[in-house]
């Protein structure tokens, strides 16, 4: 090995340690550049509003006259409300053709992670034969994951619920959007009562779907609290390429870690990979989002494992590894 080769390796060690030390996921060194994300959004909103006012928007403008909503200067019919930022002819195709993930193009940083413990309160989720409830597992694993991401990686971590309360899917999405989270991870446990299955899978926000995913989404979307109209509008705004790309990558990283690590503990587990599905909670959240099915509660052996704190801690570790691996690829140094 030449001195030059060794030099490269030593540099890599330095950079790896530097990243940990800086404790942020900024791609650029401190003090230079910054996030272009806010500039991008402002630009899009500006362009979109210009289109709005010069094309279809005008007809809907009428002076308010004794309306309930007299505080609004525009009284606009409900069905022409559009979801920003993509539906008024703003052309993003030039950006999305490139091989470089958009998040890197715009130097997007991740600071806040929202963890969503599935079900809760009056909604126990699925139950195993011994009576273990999904909501208990999702909460425990979520709390452990939150702690790990906070203390090991300095991330700001928030949770939709940190105790046994009931939240609709819409509430979970709104809490997440209000908090301006950069990532959304929802934790669930699978349920296949008629088959002795043991598999892991991770869903991400995406447009292509298959029958099975649609059916699963239907069940999980039961407590949504969105009207059909609102939901359709949201799914139509699937031009959000950044969210799509990043959700997929996050799902890959998390599923890969979950499966690889669980397989070491239990050879029987199957890898059902990543799938896109119209889960309300994934569609409603603005940030890249995934839903991880971390086990199968209808499987007897699994239920026994899922009841133990040790195994839940392991699952939190595997999820942590997945999220961290995703963040590292976001931060990957390109050849300079």
């Amino acid at each position: 090995m030449t001195a030059e080769d060794k030099g490269h390796i030593l540099r890599e060690v330095y950079e790896d340690n530097r990243r940990v030390k800086d404790r942020t996921w900024n791609r650029r060194p401190k003090g230079k550049g910054g996030s272009y994300w806010s500039v991008f959004i402002i630009l899009l909103v500006a362009v979109a509003s210009v289109f709005w006012f010069t094309t279809g928007g005008d007809d809907a403008v009428s002076p308010s006259s004794g309306d309930d909503n007299s505080s609004l200067s525009l009284a606009v019919p409900v069905d022409s409300i559009s979801v920003m930022p993509d539906d008024r002819g703003v052309d993003l195709s030039g950006l999305t053709d490139s091989d470089v993930p958009l998040s890197e193009l715009f130097d997007l940083t991740v600071r806040t992670v929202m963890i969503d413990a599935g079900h809760g309160g009056a909604d126990p989720g699925a139950s195993g034969k011994e009576g273990l409830e999904e909501k208990e597992i999702t909460l425990d694993v979520s709390l452990r994951l939150a702690r790990r991401l906070r203390s090991n990686h300095g991330l700001n971590v928030v949770m939709t619920r940190s105790d046994d309360t009931y939240l609709t899917l819409r509430e979970r999405a709104e809490i997440t959007n209000a908090g301006e989270s950069d990532l959304f991870v929802s934790i669930h446990v699978n349920y296949f009562p008629s088959e002795p299955v043991y598999a892991l899978e991770t869903y991400y926000f995406g447009s292509q779907v298959d029958e099975t995913s649609l059916r699963l989404a239907e069940i999980e979307n039961k407590n949504s609290d969105y009207s059909v109209a609102e939901f359709n509008r949201m799914t139509n705004a699937l031009g959000d390429q950044i969210k799509l790309q990043e959700s997929r990558r996050l799902a890959q990283a998390v599923q890969s870690s979950l499966f690889r690590n669980t397989q070491r503990l239990n050879e029987d587990v199957s890898d059902w990979g990543i799938k896109s599905a119209p889960f309300v909670v994934l569609v409603g959240v603005h940030a890249p989002s995934i839903l991880a099915e971390i086990g199968v509660i209808s499987n007897e052996d699994e239920e026994a494992r899922l009841a133990t704190p040790e195994y839940r801690e392991q699952l939190a570790l595997f999820l942590e590894e997945g999220v961290v691996n995703y963040l590292r690829t976001m931060n990957r140094e390109e050849n300079q």
């Binding site: 080769d5 030593l10 540099r11 030390k21 404790r23 570790l317």
Partner: protein, 339 residues
């Protein structure tokens, strides 16, 4: 952290392992300690022991009077216990004290940790070590070993530790996620299996964890036994000699197949042009590399995939620490500036 006004600099390499931790310094000093830290349970123990904290063999010896911690169990700093992080901090402090840096000396440290800890505890480890070192870099253990051996390209390091077996394939760069595999069946796993088997076969005998570990460390083997494995244990209170050859062989051999699988998993994903070279450059490191016959048995079990050469490294106790030391010394000045 601004450097102290100092007369000298010492470079150190530290190997933090589940079972053993070692240090090697540029002033020529070396030391190692069993990775145990103990605090007296109450003021009576404190008075009897005369110290606030004990390490290694001493901690083990007095374990009944101590709150004992083995902070890198399973190759990671365990969750939820500030005590484990405290233990790592104290362990590092203890090791650094052993090489006597002197108060006016700046300490530049490179620390090797098990691959799992590298994945999830980087920040915790930095926090634990930086109190006692002026500059610090953290690397994975198998990489530190490779660095010390100079085998940074087309080679495979198998670090057989107590918590985990870490496999790491080297291709001339710092290893990434995809270059490593971690098996959770290390020395501790073997101890547990051995304990279970012995309790089953000798129900009247009493075995402690420490005893079982020492049997393995002294007489662990795979393949054909050169001599019978005879150990002493109390049977119904009477010290008796037992022949545990079959049990020892069985539990030690239990890790060979998964290791072989890990090796092939990494090699098959490697650049095809260089796979043959990697096969000839496999190194066994870590405490577990001392299991007699492990290198031959591993070579045998891989026979159907080609011709392999597995080498047990010299001085597995200090290989990681020496490798980390070499890295610390060769790291350019300007990179140390930022740490």
């Amino acid at each position: 952290m601004p450097p102290k006004k100092s007369n000298s600099t010492v470079y150190i390499g530290i190997d933090l392992g589940t079972s053993r931790s070692a240090i090697a310094a540029s002033n020529g000093k070396k030391d190692w300690v069993q990775s145990y830290v103990g605090w007296p349970r109450d003021f009576v123990s404190r008075k009897m022991l005369g110290k606030n904290i004990l390490f290694g063999d001493e901690a083990l010896e007095h374990r009944l009077s101590l709150n004992l911690s083995r902070p890198l169990e399973q190759g990671v700093i365990r969750e939820g216990t500030e005590r484990d992080e405290e233990a790592v901090r104290e362990l590092v402090h203890f090791l650094i004290e052993q090489i006597k840096p002197g108060s006016a000396t700046e300490v530049f440290a490179a620390v090797g940790v098990p691959a799992e800890a590298m994945r999830v505890n980087k920040l915790a480890i930095r926090d634990a070590v930086k109190e006692y070192a002026d500059r610090l870099m953290v690397v994975s253990e198998p990489f530190a070993v490779a660095y010390g051996l100079g085998t940074l390209n087309n080679s495979l390091i198998i670090d057989v530790g107590a918590g985990t077996v870490d496999l790491c394939i080297m291709h001339g760069t710092m290893p990434g996620e995809e270059d490593q595999r971690t098996l959770s069946l290390g020395g501790d796993f073997i101890d547990r299996q051995l304990m279970n088997l012995l309790n089953e076969n000798y129900p009247d005998a009493s075995f402690s964890e420490t005893m079982v570990r020492s049997y393995k460390e002294d007489k662990g083997f795979v393949g054909s036994a050169r001599s019978r494995v005879k150990v002493n244990a109390p049977v119904s209170g009477v010290s008796t000699t037992l022949d545990i050859t079959a049990e020892m062989q069985r539990v030690c051999e239990g890790i060979v197949a998964p290791m072989a699988e890990g090796v092939m998993d990494l090699i098959t994903r490697y650049e095809p042009d260089f796979q043959e070279e990697v096969k000839k450059n496999i190194y066994l490191a870590g405490g577990g590399s001392q299991i007699r016959g492990l290198d031959s048995m591993l070579t045998d079990s891989l026979k159907e995939y080609g011709s392999f050469k597995v080498t047990v490294i010299d001085d597995p106790l200090f290989a990681g620490a020496e490798g980390a030391l070499a890295l610390a010394r060769e790291m350019p000045e300007e990179y140390w500036e930022d740490m």
